[in-house]
Amino acid sequence: MKVHNERTAPPGTVSLSSPDVGVVLVRLSGAWKKDLELPSADGVMDRVLERPDTRLVAFEHTGLDAWDSSLLTFLVHLRNRCVLAGVRVETEGLPHGVVRLLMLASESKRAKGLPGEAVEASVLTSIGERAFNFARYFSHVLEFTAEACTAFLRLFEGKARYRRTDLGLLIYECGAQALPIVSLISVLVGLILAFVGVVQLKMFGAQIYIANLVGIAMTREMGAMMTAIIMMGRTGAAFATQLGTMEANEEIDALKTLGISPMEFLVMPRMLALILMMPLLCVYADVVGILGGAFVGVGMFDLPANLYYEQTLAALKLKHFAIGVVKSVFFAVLIATSGCFHGMQTDRSASAVGYAATRAVVVGIVLIVVTDGIFAVITSFLGI
């Protein structure tokens, strides 16, 4: 503020006069700066409209000092009110720069195709719109799924067009590179399960059964579930980002005009890599989680190691492993589909890519949990 001190003009004011019948002359004076106290456009307008049969508003600016966009917003507001009230506005009496900027501001509003004129939709309309959008989204999903199936058929026929090196790299990214995070999370889940279990089981002197608890929970549920959630956040989001960026850069268009199906070239290898790697990661997570549980049971609650080992072996049945592994294949399909689908649906802008990744993860995790629930119901119904 000190800088302006040598030229402090009084804050802007407005005075009105009527040089002619039906004409209101708005005299602007003082400094119109954002940080000063300025008259409100509505207040001035009310005073203008108080005068009987106002037809024209004109301006005068001899007393006007410095001005910035606060004057412009004031004038735009004033003009809009005038238009509503059917009063003509004559801008000639304004500083030349102000007139030019006002013209620019009104032109950009006229530019068509802008959402500026959107009418407020009624509740019913917006519900209908949402339903319609959802139906369209769903039809896109179906279309995508059908195309993916075709791509896989062509893969089995040996006709799919993709790069082996890409597939190798993707397998490495989905498999080996995910090991550290899967190890960490699984060992922690094993530990947590054991801790929670041991506190309860101790009351009955049945601590040894944490071997059963951890073993079955890991293999049947947590191994598949936790790897799925990790892989969704890690790999599914990466798929969405990669494909979204490719769409935004027209890379996918370039493939299509070459007659190469992006489904075969980009989506199918990603799905395949994940479908191949997820069961392995799941089994790995099972083992690591069981070791985590054993660490708690044997290391902290002094259960004999050989007993714990035998108890674990007795509890683990092939069916528990199998259920977990089968689920992990389903999860792999869901993760890859959600990631690739949302990536391919991206608009051509940078922000859309981030949005695609977010959506992919949210939709993917919901689908994973729902599928897991369905499995729980089916397996209990079948008694396995």
Binding site: K112, D166, E250, D253, A254, T257, I260
Partner: protein, 261 residues
């Protein structure tokens, strides 16, 4: 659409667009376009931002079906043709995309090689030779193993051009080739386009609003307008500047300095 220029000898039509209407989900971008691109021509498609130039390119290159109308390559109606016939047409077409569209997970050499692998039966060694030649043609010799992200924007543009030229196309489409290039590089690209058109008799279609290159290379041009959603003028750009009856076209060609010519 009037054709003011006298046509001394009727050249062969290479691409014919007839009554084409383009739309995005109900929003019409351009309607009832009709124009002809002659063999060996350098054809400029000009118009303001967002008037539908890239969309037109998409329809002409098979990425998006038109709402109405046809695109003929020689005598074949692209959108009525079967998939294999379409591929046959696209095999003879090279496209330089507005955003380069280099495949980011592949090296420059792999980028240029993919069209060759896809459409020719050449062996690895032959492909590698052609790839090196094409990269050298655009001044990128020695950059075979670079990834697109590792080179500058101008170099990416040239690499994309090398890829577009990989199959020795009869038709080259350029979508705003000079966007993002400095004047010297833009000029070099113009020279390259002239060279291609001259030496290989390639039909070149350039989407641009760069006035310097419009006048430097354009033989024929059309002007698309987003307000009327139609083709406002057609003809040689120099001649349009002199005597187009439409003020919008003249304003565009003079950067808005109307009445100065």
């Amino acid at each position: 659409m009037e054709r003011s220029q006298e046509e001394p000898l009727r050249t062969e039509a290479h691409i014919t667009v007839r009554d084409l209407t383009l739309a995005y989900e109900g929003y019409t971008v351009l309607k009832d376009l009709t124009f002809t691109i002659d063999r060996g021509d350098i054809f400029i498609i000009m118009g303001g931002n967002g008037c539908g130039k890239s969309t037109l390119l998409k329809i002409m290159t098979g990425l998006k079906p038109p709402v109405k109308g046809q695109v003929f390559y020689d005598d074949i109606s692209f959108w009525d043709a079967g998939p294999s016939e379409r591929n046959g047409i696209l095999r003879r077409v090279g496209i330089l995309y507005q955003r380069n569209a280099l495949w980011s997970s592949m090296t420059l050499a792999e980028n240029v090689a993919l069209p060759l692998e896809e459409y020719t039966g050449l062996d690895r060694r032959q492909i590698a030779e052609i790839v090196s030649l094409k990269l050298a043609l655009v001044g990128l010799a020695g950059f075979e193993t670079y990834y697109p992200s590792g080179i500058s924007g101008g170099m990416q543009k040239r690499a994309a051009l090398a890829r577009a030229m990989a199959l020795d196309p009869e038709i080259l489409f350029f979508d705003e080739p000079s966007a993002g290039l400095d004047p010297v590089n833009a000029r070099l690209l113009d020279d390259l386009i002239l060279e291609l058109s001259d030496s290989l008799k390639t039909t070149v279609v350039v989407i641009t609003h760069d006035l310097a290159s419009i006048f430097a290379i354009g033989k024929t041009s059309i002007f698309l307008d987003s307000e009327t959603k139609t083709l406002l003028a057609a003809g040689n750009p120099g001649r349009l500047l002199e005597d187009s009856p439409d003020p919008k076209v003249r304003a565009f060609l003079t950067r808005g300095h109307l009445d100065e010519t």
